[in-house]
Symmetry: C2
Subunit: 144 residues, 2 copies
DNA sequence: GGCAAAAAAGTTTAATCAATGTCTTTTATG
DNA sequence: CATAAAAGACATTGATTAAACTTTTTTGCC
């Protein structure tokens, strides 16, 4: 399965970085991996509560925080939701998302050009980018 | 002053479009215009309440909704805040923002290239963009 | 012009969704 | 075993929307 491969990969990355992939973090990771679409923190929370009824918002947010820092998941700012990243091996890439407003599908694209275009625009204003958010909303090819 | 010019312009635009620039909307517009930085809805609310103590969250959100629809203000998704747009005469341009995390200054840039780069990336995936969000965080040229 | 009907805007109250703070307890690791 | 990181518990703040109702504005018609 692809999920278990992803999980292995994540575990390896954590090992290498000397950070802890704890049970809570793993559970949240798996929950996210099961969704092909983006998921809200509170949806995730209620799913987590079926496993661990004591889970609270902070539980989820802490786990998401960690997973985000490691680059395993991305937060979608425009809809307050989270998606699994499938290319976290190549570290700290710029994140560019296509979000279908009809079916909810999220596609992550990787355009060096786009990244460069943004950086050059910023340079022109003497601005130094540390983090960028690119989210396009619309209709994916599968939706009518 | 620049603010009153902006106000006039907004009034004209509304007149042309046959939509109503009511007192509440004008007040919120002016509050936003006074800020050079982005402002949160609740900050705006408490400012509005000094004029109109009866104002509630819905008051602000409805006004912001309207101002957003007309293109007078932009919402910054990554920080849940709002900024005045100074080029609302040329209608419905793509919004690209540089947000300084140190001083809070927000600069709106206008790059046709960037817009095209995003669109062509989307096209490649058969994706049809209706709305795009581009927000870069970092350090502006004035900050050390 | 004056007025009824319809449309738009605003008010109120409440609920929901999203995120963080603080303090205590547990757990891993040197 | 000491220490630091993580998780738990509890509470609160912040952000946004919903639903029901009232007021204001517009507009066509007498």
């Amino acid at each position: 399965m692809e999920i278990s491969a992803l999980l292995e990969q994540a575990k390896n990355v954590c090992q290498q970085r000397g950070v802890r992939f704890t049970p809570v973090r793993e559970q949240v990771f798996l929950l996210l991996a099961k969704h092909s679409n983006a998921v809200g923190a509170y949806d995730l929370l209620s799913e987590l509560q079926t496993i661990d009824p004591a889970a609270k918002p902070a539980t989820i947010y802490r786990a998401l925080d960690f997973l985000g820092q490691q680059g395993f998941v991305h937060k979608i700012e425009s809809i307050n939701a989270f998606v699994m990243c499938h290319h976290f091996s190549d570290c700290s890439h710029p994140v560019q998302l296509l979000i279908c407003d009809q079916c909810g599908h999220v596609e992550e694209i990787q355009s060096q050009n786009l990244d460069l275009a943004i950086r050059s625009m910023a340079d022109a204003s003497g601005f130094n980018i540390s983090h960028q958010i690119v989210e396009a909303h619309g209709k994916c090819q599968r939706c009518p």
